[in-house]
Symmetry: none
Amino acid sequence: MTLDEKPTILSLERAETMIAAGFRKGGELGLKPLSIAVLDAGGHLLAFGRQDGSSIMRPQIAIAKASGALGLGVSSRTIGEMAGERPSFIAALHRLSPQGLLPAAGGLLVADSEGRLLGAIGVTGDTSDNDELCALAGVAEAGFTTPG
Amino acid sequence: MTLDEKPTILSLERAETMIAAGFRKGGELGLKPLSIAVLDAGGHLLAFGRQDGSSIMRPQIAIAKASGALGLGVSSRTIGEMAGERPSFIAALHRLSPQGLLPAAGGLLVADSEGRLLGAIGVTGDTSDNDELCALAGVAEAGFTTPG
Amino acid sequence: MTLDEKPTILSLERAETMIAAGFRKGGELGLKPLSIAVLDAGGHLLAFGRQDGSSIMRPQIAIAKASGALGLGVSSRTIGEMAGERPSFIAALHRLSPQGLLPAAGGLLVADSEGRLLGAIGVTGDTSDNDELCALAGVAEAGFTTPG
Amino acid sequence: MTLDEKPTILSLERAETMIAAGFRKGGELGLKPLSIAVLDAGGHLLAFGRQDGSSIMRPQIAIAKASGALGLGVSSRTIGEMAGERPSFIAALHRLSPQGLLPAAGGLLVADSEGRLLGAIGVTGDTSDNDELCALAGVAEAGFTTPG
């Protein structure tokens, strides 16, 4: 179900819509089992799902992809690029963030149609590029945008 | 939807059924907004939902109720009783468990109809007794049992 | 300066207004040097001030009063009452919250005039009752309310 | 307002002057929203401000830039250079410091006109070089110097 209005709040219902859309995209692309976390703007878990066969550290990885995006205000893909250019800077941040951050694609900021930050989504389980496609599918399905 | 077969696996679908049933029970009882976590037998998050208005530390509390139950093999209500009788024992466990444990009702072990342990559910947001009613509703709806 | 409109956003300017008002109230009441923290709804520090002579652990205490209020959705005074009734429950929460929680008055939730949660303020340095008076002064000065 | 005497104490008032000057410099340079922390000589937070739109991990980063400077007695820019030359040395320090350290420019020691150490300032939000310009503006505005 595509929700066609322009939501301004990241409710539990929207978060579940995002996760379902991410899993559906993973199925369409034939990806490995995924784990998907949706966090509110403060970095606190709203909803999470781990598909059967997705390994046991995936909850932390999905959360860290989303948490790092919120922590620095950029996608986890950008954090991955920063880690390549300035490894000691990103290394230092791991201890400063209660939920960590993950320097690899698959974590996206979530904003409303006006660009107001509402939270973040983190996907893990396949390649980082494929994870990010599923995160994007979740953002789009719920009527949100991702900054940058 | 009550699933009438006797499931022997705690799949993501079952975990989501448990969470939905817990929220529905909370609505029927007129409870405050709830957060519900379902963990696999290894203590790793399978699914989670936080209702709109449920406060920001609820994810950790829901997970800790379920995690503590798995850690000691009893309900979080029993852990609460142990904390009354042997406070220093329970206090010592906090540091030993990465996800903590919560000495209050609302966390239940989840087993199949033969009593084989499959995971745990943790509910938080209202009184501990009410949280536990919602956890029980989730266990029953998905066709599982809770030991003890 | 009392800002007489009804703000719906907890901006840095509002947070600084709250801190200044809390310090002014402390001066009027002849209190000891205070430390005041204002957090956003996600528990992240917006503004902080420690008066000359306020001791070195006060930053953490002020933040923990506000953080605990947000974590459980009640004032830190209520958390203090919970700690009296259910000590092992509150003890268990310390490890689950990255910034801790403080079971003593002086931490208040901050909401707009419609009751929408915007953040929290934590004051420490004098007695808990006096700390809370300064927190209340900060909330009122900025045009906010405190739930409950 | 430039305070033209030569202060020998890092008071809350001076700390607030430093933060305001840092924000003003950021505005003049058209930088992204900033977060600025001022710590006393013992590494304990004196004052902090996070501009609207500055992301949620910025408090920890600003504090870590200042904390690391105090911890090693050099600017966070120098710590960045040390991290390039001796990565395992700096990596080892992360666990030893409760507030961490950040190997990137933007954290400066704060001293009086005689070079006596009074504390540190940490700025984050834009590039590290720009962050440092704002930290320098804060130091100068309050009548302090930065060693080295």
